[in-house]
């Protein structure tokens, strides 16, 4: 058999499905032989007839040796018993033509036997995929071990034993001939993980450094050392990014590792189902993080099984529909930004959205009304619900309604997105979009009232700014019509119970998140931006909080929680707050002037007194602070709800400009009137006041009436 493979590798032998049948079958036989040897200690106690297969291998192999030099190179294969040696001179003297005929004859014979055997043993084997990719098949023989446990055990007694069984017992895989030696070392995954963690810390440090640099730049504009600092900071950030990518790369594996088992699977399936299916693989060199490669295998198996079983029709039906008799499944992988996309396309009968709806109603998963409101895309998404199957009969292969649920769970675990597209009669396209890595991710930072959350960018489809009156309520659910789709909406602050401290404007931001096959619009108050974040666990104590996937430390050293998109979607179902109504119900608790509080910040007690006096006619309560720091602490403590602040510019500890800037950093004080009251009258001072966030600028000396009117205007009294 090695000879056969060898020749195929050197292009001497044309691989036909028949040849592959023989090869695969012999592999199965070898495996069962190995099992037998392992279980019984010898190979004579189980009746496995390898004579026939050996002879066939010989035919294929020796038929060509007449005109070719055999290159003796090892195939990197599992232990290979070479039983063919015995009688391989018989055919070598024949002419090509004769050999061809002989092969033809023997193959026919073999096919007959094959059929008989299959009937007798009951375990169907060896499917015919016409000209499958040979390389991938070969690499994969090792992996198929588990599924081949029931390799055909032939019932007739042993007629002739070969030496092969015994040699295989002792023959370890003879791998790695000199030519294939690679410059690699094996590294424990744990070490890589540790390295990854360290890099994570470094990335956090880098983010902080960048932030500090921004602050420094602002403060010491035009200073010479800034240039130098800039250089250092940017080179560090560059190197860190490169380092991160490099470490990530060390964890990457080509997706071929997963893809390689599919040709054999499809081949076996197609034989079993009596269909002709061709599998086309492309992009198997695309690389993915190791942990993801491990997770992605199962979902793909299920999807491809489904395509084979339900998607591709049998030959007759296909012909009747004017399609080529051989069904085609394409398995494609490619990179798209920070994602890898795996596309599984079949040209089968496609998904029928109406059938899906009826089935779902039958099973009581959705009501008829829901079904009517469903778009085709949403109907396709039904296939991911557990226990829904479109198959009329449950087969060995699929139809139990479990598989797609597994797909969904696994892809969700990876923060991936599933997109199903199908046309009845033309086929189905399933797209899996998976982030390249899990430890460091890109996230969209959003603000809900005063709190910030990070949403994995992998799950963010788009962000839109909408006026509030575009939000409609249907059956207690908030929805938004976005282009031709109806999107359910939920406010992030409702999900996480964020305190409502300030009301939004006429518009609001919606982050459209998608996970697996579902979509949701999340209403947030601010969009902060995109940032690279390192996922940290919340620890045992806070493990498993619904809706939170972890935490990250931002550039400013604060902790920001990362949203668990899958859980968020679940949580969203339980929330029935009318967004529009609650947004419009303006929180107006203050009614009389004495409810209002004005904070007077000035270092001179006399000035504060003057301010106090001027405001007496309005009747508001006045608090005092003697410097910026004190005022800021009062605002921070949120003990009083302050409605306006009068700020002197020249003060010890923290001046007025800085105070205004600090206050504006709090989102809840974004609209707080800040009135500068100062003796600085120059234009540049005024300008600086505006820049730092002052809403009014009053110069000393002022008339009490003037101050009064300004305050009145600003707190709307």
């Amino acid at each position: 058999m090695e000879d056969v493979l060898n020749k195929a590798r050197h292009g001497d032998l044309k691989l036909t499905p028949e040849v592959m049948d023989v090869v695969l079958e012999s592999i199965d036989l070898m495996k069962s032989l190995l099992h037998a040897i392992r279980d019984n200690g010898n190979d004579t106690s189980v009746g496995i007839d390898i004579t026939d297969i050996c002879r066939r291998l010989d035919i294929i192999s020796n038929g060509e040796t007449a005109k070719n030099i055999v290159v003796a190179e090892e195939v990197d294969e599992s232990p290979v018993p070479s039983a063919e040696e015995d009688d391989n001179t018989d055919y070598s003297k024949l002419s090509d033509k004769e050999v061809e005929d002989e092969i033809e004859r023997l193959l026919k014979m073999r096919k007959e036997e094959d059929r008989k055997r299959r009937e007798s043993s009951g375990s169907a084997k060896a499917a015919a995929v016409p000209t499958p990719s040979f390389e991938s098949l070969k690499d994969n023989h090792d992996n198929d071990g588990d599924s081949d446990d029931e390799a055909p055990k032939v019932v007739e007694p042993v007629t002739r034993r070969s030496v092969g069984g015994d040699t295989s017992n002792t023959a370890p895989a003879k791998k790695e001939s000199a030519s294939t030696m690679e410059q690699t070392i094996r590294v424990e995954v744990k070490r890589l993980d540790h390295l990854m963690n360290l890099i994570g810390e470094l990335v956090l440090g880098k983010n902080r450094l960048l932030k500090i640099y921004d602050d420094v730049e602002e403060r010491y504009e035009g200073e010479k050392f800034l240039e130098e600092l800039n250089q250092v900071v940017s080179s560090i950030s560059l190197v860190t990014t490169d380092l991160q990518i490099a470490v990530m790369k060390t964890r990457m594996l080509p997706i071929a590792k997963v893809f390689n088992k599919f040709p054999r699977m499809v081949r076996d399936l197609s034989r079993e189902l009596g269909k002709q299916i061709e599998l086309e693989i492309s992009g198997e060199e695309t690389e993915l993080d190791k942990s993801i490669v491990e997770e992605i295998g199962d979902p793909l198996v299920h999807i491809i099984r489904n395509s084979c079983d339900h998607g591709i029709e049998d030959g007759a039906t296909r012909r009747a529909n004017g399609k080529p008799e051989t069904g085609l499944i394409q398995l494609k992988a490619y990179n798209e930004g920070n994602h890898i996309v795996i596309e599984i396309t079949d040209d089968g009968k496609g998904l029928d959205p109406d059938l899906l709806r009826t089935k779902a109603i039958e099973k009581g998963m959705i009501t008829e009304r829901e079904a009517d409101a469903m778009s085709d895309k949403e109907a396709f998404a039904l296939i991911f619900r557990p226990s829904l199957s479109t198959a009329k009969v449950v087969t060995n292969v699929s139809g139990r309604g479990v598989g797609m649920d597994v797909v969904k769970t696994n892809i969700e675990k990876l923060n991936g997105i599933i997109d199903v597209d199908s046309e009845v009669g033309h086929g189905t396209v399933i797209k899996l979009k998976i982030p390249l890595t899990l430890a460091i991710i890109q996230a969209l930072l959003v603000g809900a009232q005063e709190e910030y959350y990070a949403i994995p960018l992998a799950s963010v489809l788009e962000t839109v700014r909408i006026p509030l009156d575009e939000i409609y309520t249907i059956e207690g659910k908030n929805v938004l019509r976005l282009r031709d789709e109806v999107l359910s909406l939920v406010r992030l602050s409702d999900i996480f119970g964020v305190k409502q401290v300030y009301e939004g404007g006429e518009h609001t931001y919606v982050v459209v998140i998608g996970l697996a096959e579902s979509k949701l619009g999340v209403v947030v108050d601010t969009l902060v931006g995109q940032e690279e974040i390192v996922i940290k666990s919340l620890g045992d104590y806070l493990q498993g909080i619904e809706g939170i996937a972890g935490a990250t430390i931002r550039g400013d050293g604060r902790v920001t929680l990362i949203v668990d998109v899958a859980a968020l979607m679940n949580l969203a179902k339980g929330i029935t707050v009318d967004i529009r109504a609650s947004a419009e119900a303006v929180v107006k608790t203050k009614t009389v002037p004495s409810d209002y509080i004005v904070l007077a910040v000035d270092d001179s007690a006399m000035d504060r007194n003057i301010m106090k006096k001027s405001m007496e006619p309005i009747g508001v309560k006045v608090l005092e602070a003697s410097n910026g720091q004190e005022a800021l602490n009062m605002l921070k403590s949120a003990e009083y709800s302050i409605d306006a602040v009068l700020i002197d510019i020249e003060m010890p500890r923290m001046d007025g400009y800085t105070l205004a800037g600090e206050i504006r950093k709090y989102s809840k004080y974004k609209n707080l009137p800040l009135i500068a009251v100062t003796s600085r009258t120059s234009k540049s001072d005024r300008l600086r006041g505006v820049e730092s966030g002052m809403s009014e600028y009053i110069t000393k000396p002022y008339s009490p009436e003037y101050l009064e009117s300004v305050v009145r205007k600003n707190i709307k009294l």
Partner: protein, 164 residues
């Protein structure tokens, strides 16, 4: 050298685990005030004591869990002992501290009103907790008698156990 170190470490661990093994064992505690009462925890279970820093609220947890904070790159939960002991929350003052306690597999910060002192107390002067006073089951390790007052000694492992 290493053996010696191990021995010392083991001894320390023993001290943490069973502070009253011998009658005359001296236990070292750190005392702090919550509300009106003085509490204490074994000194070895304390990782560090820090001044209040900013923390991030975590949704859908009991109210005594204030959130999480960043301790030099680690995300650590912050627990308000006042609320945990069903007292009214107060504002952060100059004296407020976070005590970061480390257990076997958990670390958490606890908000306390004020630190008092490091205390050395003989284990013979520690009595079992009276059964009636604390609704919070198992949190109290024992009551320490001192000349001028009494101490409630808390069980750190229990404090660090998730109970929701």
């Amino acid at each position: 050298m290493n053996d010696k170190l191990n021995q010392i470490l083991q001894k320390q661990q023993q001290q943490v685990d069973e502070p009253h093994k011998k009658e005359d064992d001296i236990i070292q505690l750190v005392g702090f005030i919550i509300g009106q009462e003085e509490y204490a925890v074994p000194i070895l279970s304390i990782q560090e004591i820090i001044k209040p820093i900013e923390y991030t609220r975590v949704p859908s947890v009991p109210d005594y869990i204030l959130g999480v904070f960043n301790l030099r790159g680690s995300v650590i939960p912050l627990i308000d002992l006042r609320r945990k002991f069903k007292m009214d929350p107060v504002k952060v003052t100059e004296d407020t501290r976070y005590i970061v306690m480390k257990g076997k597999d958990n670390t958490a910060g606890f908000v306390i009103d004020r630190l008092t002192e490091a205390i050395r107390i003989k284990s013979s002067r520690i009595g079992p907790p009276p059964e009636t006073i604390h609704a919070e089951k198992g949190l109290v390790y024992g009551i320490g008698m001192r000349e001028e007052n009494i101490l409630t000694i808390l069980k750190v492992e229990q404090l660090l156990k998730r109970d929701f």
